[in-house]
Amino acid sequence: MTFEEIRNILQNKTVGIAGAGGLGSNCAVALARVGTGTLIIADFDVVSEGNLNRQYYFYDQIGKPKADALKENIKRINPAVNVLVHKICLTKENIPVLFRNCDIIVEAFDRADQKEMLIETVLTVFPEKPLIIGLGMAGWGKNDAIHCRKEDNMFICGDEVSEIGPDLPPIAPRVGIVANMQANIVLEILLK
């Protein structure tokens, strides 16, 4: 498939990204570069200096809402991408509304309880929609431990064991790998 053929398919697709942090921002940028038609991005947080060690933001965006900053960055990379932002906290009530038209949903939350809420909601309301989860990406090295596995319509990317902590922070290389793995699975599904 040529890149033009790829782009022609992707421009009609919609991907929802729950969270615009380490996973979400990097995944969104990868999907924007290849020409995904519409990205629906939800995050209520603002860019802080500590985020810059892994999240796709810039020093001059500190203080800006992440969803807005990410949209700006995407538009500078590929203005053709349609970016819908929601600066709100996702809940089991609004997820079915906001992600109704998504072909695929990418889980890019930080906290385990948020991941649980999102996965339960999607499996209950949209069990047929592919859901790409990020699980276990803290620290550095250990490339071999990072994998992707499929469970019905759920795809789990990460090493599934490295939880973030004070002595095991999430940092750009490993977070970027998992985020790009998520984007890669999105392509695999959409280009089938």
Partner: protein, 67 residues
Amino acid sequence: MKIILNNNPETFEGNSITVNHLLQLKNFTFKMLIIKINGTLVQKADYETTAIHDGDEVSVLHLISGG
């Protein structure tokens, strides 16, 4: 009874066990879990009442923070 748990065969006494009982037996102490039986999600509220039977495929996903 024999089941597949996270792709591994497991054997338990009796004809059925509840999801909660399975978590206790296997020492799954993580709080954030996604549990599916034969591909269908089990809601948290139903862990005490949902039974697992011989031949079921059960997946227990432990959620950890980071992303």
